[in-house]
Symmetry: C2
Subunit: 190 residues, 2 copies
Amino acid sequence: MPAALLTRNEMLDRLMALFRAKGFDGASLADISDSTGLGKSSLYHHFPGGKEEIATEVLAHLERGLEAAMFAPMRSDEPPARKFDRMLEAIDRFYEGGRRACLLERLSASVDANRFKRPLGRAFRAWIDAVEALGVEAGVPRALARARAEDLVVRVEGALVVSSGTGDTRVFARTIRDLRARGLGDAGRH
Amino acid sequence: MPAALLTRNEMLDRLMALFRAKGFDGASLADISDSTGLGKSSLYHHFPGGKEEIATEVLAHLERGLEAAMFAPMRSDEPPARKFDRMLEAIDRFYEGGRRACLLERLSASVDANRFKRPLGRAFRAWIDAVEALGVEAGVPRALARARAEDLVVRVEGALVVSSGTGDTRVFARTIRDLRARGLGDAGRH
DNA sequence: GTCTATAAGCAGATAGAC
DNA sequence: GTCTATCTGCTTATAGAC
């Protein structure tokens, strides 16, 4: 394992992949060492707060990634319907069609989830807010847009759980398809 | 801790509560010992296979519980719409309005989830199958009833994740309300 | 069928050389 | 900024008395 060949961003990418795969309780310092190529002592040089600080930094890294990959494009001047499709594509890509887990869910389910409570709540709300804003932009009344946005996030998270639990990613694919079919403008139903 | 004061069912109830609260990776043998009142050696007397066997037995216990509390009532001769409402009430009660986690999700997210893959898939499918059967009974075409049933389970699981992650159980309450409002007979949309 | 005692190993974390 | 060596405590699991 070559040392210091990774930028901090690359390190955080790998650590995010690790926590998504194994969860916070399941990922050991040895795993973290392996996935970054850094010895334990080096890890404590970069993250004096240990495993908990690593997870916090990974969470912040995810928040920045969401901003760049999902939220920023949604502030472009494309039509809302197209931006909505782009967001669903980004989601499908990020979760690799339901094969990869959600970091937020994995950290929410860890034993000391209270430690991550604030950033977790913030990340979930940022996501819901962004979808809500898109609905409002498309002319959907705010209350309905809010409910729809919550529902979208709920369904994506649930589809990941059920896909993983049944070992059948078609549930995830169908969920994304349904969300795309419903779209934004269909104000009469949810 | 009084010994042998618990029946096996009571023991499994407590162990299920423990795994729902802490997950498989997060629950230690010391936790298991505390929650049952049995010393470690006694645990190995009841469950020679150790922690993994305990989780497997808890999963089987859940499957029996689902059968008794959710699936059996759905085979009564009440109108399907009423049975559907009863099921949603049972779900709301079991998850305490979104405050308690799903055992299936917690075990799906554990490091050695592969060990539980079969019973997990079986439990998820049993649940989806039961909801699908209810839709068919209500006259919904099978393919649509299937999609709806998957969607119901997806939304319940997702609502638990989002409620836990945001610390706001209103998401769960609204999800149950929406599912009840949609009901079974509304064949034109999902 | 429960207990006490203990094993063997891994967890997260630190000291201090280079 | 990385390493080797080490620490302490907790992990799962077992032996054997009662």
